[in-house]
Structures are given as structure tokens and as C-alpha cells.
Symmetry: C2
Subunit: 193 residues, 2 copies
């Protein structure tokens, strides 16, 4: 698990043994059972998450209905809005599968960042990269029909369609579960004919 982390970090900065040990001493690794809720609406969390194994999802409860808006899988990083904003969270986060997460909090990060400016620089690069990537995702979403979005997802994250319940996928695609069922049937029909 540690190797996975250091391997990921090495894409941005190279760490000395001292720095690696400083990171490990923080006890960041956590194993969580499927279904565990790690952030609740209204909570003022200061935690950031990095997925080493498994899958977590972000969802809102609007008019009593769950609306899933994001999935994070292996090597994805997430700092919830409430952490940045220091405000109560608008959404929930829970584990879709048994997962191993790296969990850090703001105070920790600030301490490390001030000790090792490298980390600050890495976080900047990571944020910039994620921001640019998310902009592209958002653009694709805006310029596509639900059907195209589904086909696009099938290309880019085929694992998600296996790992995640359909009704969660549906709201992730911005539609109702019934529409996703229908849409899939329509695509299969096209492939035949």
C-alpha cells in the first residue's frame, strides 16, 4: 500500500527517506467497510481522502432522494468542498466497496507543507491537474446527450459500470434509473440491427 502511495507521489516530486518516514509516521492509512459513511451533510470536516483501494462516492439527498455526483477509485484524491470552504457539508461521502483510504486533515497537511515546501508544490500541481481534468469532464457532460455520456463512460471508466449500482450511475449521468435502463436497451437494439 505504501509503495502505491510513494509511486504516485514520485510522479510529482522525489522524496528523501526522511520525508517518506515523516509521511508514514502520521498513520494515514484506514480500512473501511462497504457502506461506511465517512462524511455527512452538515458536518464540518477537515479531512481529505486519497483512494488506495476501493471506491467512494459523493451524494446529495435532495427531496429525500439520493443524487450521486461523483465516484473516486484507485489513485483518485478528494478534498471536500466543506474543507476548503470551512462550512457545513452539502453532501455525503460513503464507501461503495470495502476500501483502503489515506485520510489526512488540514492541520496535518499544513504542518507538512510548511516543513517540506515540496509538498506544497506537489499539491499545487495536483490541484491544477485535477481542475483541468474536471473542466474537460464538465465540458463533455455539457456537450453530450445522456446516451453519449453513457457511451463515453463505457470508454473511459468501464470498471465503474461493473462496480457501481445502476441507480447511482444514473444520477451520475444526470438521469433517472428508468431512463438508464431504457437507454441501455436502446443501444443494444441498435447494435443488433
Amino acid at each position: 500500500m505504501q509503495d502505491i502511495l510513494f509511486n504516485f507521489i514520485s510522479k510529482y516530486v522525489s522524496l528523501t527517506e526522511d520525508e517518506k518516514n515523516a509521511l508514514l509516521s502520521l498513520d494515514l492509512f484506514h480500512s473501511l467497510k462497504k457502506g461506511t459513511v465517512i462524511l455527512k451533510e452538515g458536518q464540518r470536516s477537515k479531512e481529505s481522502y486519497f483512494v488506495l483501494k476501493g471506491c467512494i462516492r459523493v451524494y446529495y439527498i435532495i427531496d429525500g432522494e439520493e443524487k450521486t455526483t461523483a465516484f473516486y477509485t484507485e489513485l483518485d484524491a478528494l478534498t471536500p468542498h466543506c474543507v476548503i470552504n470551512n462550512a457545513p457539508s452539502d453532501y455525503f461521502i460513503s464507501c461503495v466497496e470495502d476500501s483502503i483510504l489515506l485520510i489526512s486533515n488540514t492541520d496535518m497537511s499544513e504542518e507538512i507543507n510548511s516543513k517540506f515546501p515540496k509538498f506544497d508544490s506537489m499539491c499545487r500541481m495536483l490541484s491544477e491537474e485535477l481542475l483541468a481534468k474536471q473542466q474537460i469532464d464538465f465540458d463533455e457532460f455539457k456537450t453530450s446527450s445522456p446516451e453519449k455520456r453513457y457511451l463515453n463512460l463505457l470508454q473511459k471508466r468501464p470498471d465503474l459500470i461493473q462496480r457501481v449500482p445502476q441507480h447511482q450511475l444514473a444520477s451520475y449521468l444526470g438521469i433517472k434509473p428508468q431512463s438508464l435502463s431504457r437507454l441501455r436497451a436502446r443501444i443494444l437494439e441498435k447494435d443488433k440491427g
Copy 2:
């Protein structure tokens, strides 16, 4: 114009006179006419933009049709995907109005960031903030109907609806111009009845 910039920066870090002068010596301010295209599809730009005055938009040309996906107005910052990715751009950027932009390139930023670690830290904070904000925008988009999105925009960025042509707003809302016209008529009808 400089005051606007320094005032913005002061929300993140406090600069010395030396640092301010270092920034100013870079000749970052540019006036651009409405309609000017500042980034073209296929280009490998290294420029980032900060809007001091005016409005710029990001758009794709898909099957010969313009699809506008983002507007940046006063105090908005944009580093295009192609800059982060060092790849040819998938989209265009142009001025919706006569605009005053701060334009920096990657080499410049790296030089400044290495001279003044403060800037690195500021960029990290800014990126994190923008990432979190955009996540919320994306979530709202996914969980709303076109009509709700329009009403939401009317609340959050009423200026845009005045400043920007309807057909550009339409694709920004993920729909066709005709649908936006109809949707607006529908809302007016509701307000009456």
C-alpha cells in the same frame, strides 16, 4: 487595474513592495478587443489568463457547431487544459467583450514561484478553491433540469444573462438556443398565471 490585482492577491498572501514590483515588471496586462481569439483549437499554448475587466469564453467546435462551455468574468482565473497537459488544445477561447486580461506563461510563473515560494502557496490555494467551487457547479448541473439551471444562473450570475448572447448561454446550459427561448417563455407564462 494594478490595485484590483493586488487587492485580489491580498486575499491569499501579503506581498512586499519588492514582490509587487517584480510582478509589475513582467508586463502582464493586455487590452483585447471584443471577438479576439486568444486560444485556438490545436494550439499548444503556455498562457494562463486572469480577467481584470470584461468577459472571455471557452468554446468547442463540434460538427461545425460552436459549443460554449464556460465564461470567465472579473477576477476569474483560467489555466487552459492544454497548458497543464502540454498537449494541443481541444477548444477555443475568445473575448465576449472588450477586455483587460493579465496574461502569464508557464515559464514566467515557474520563475516567480521559485523566487517567491509565497506564489506557489497562493496558486495552490487558488487551485484548490477553484476545484472545490467547480465541483459544486458540476454537481448542481448534474442534479438540475435545464429550467432549474437557468433559474440558478439567474440567481448566481445575473450579469451573464445580460452580457452574453442567448445562443452561447444555451450551450452553456447544455441545451439548444430554441429550447432556451421556449424555456424562458414558459417561465414568464408561469409567473403571470
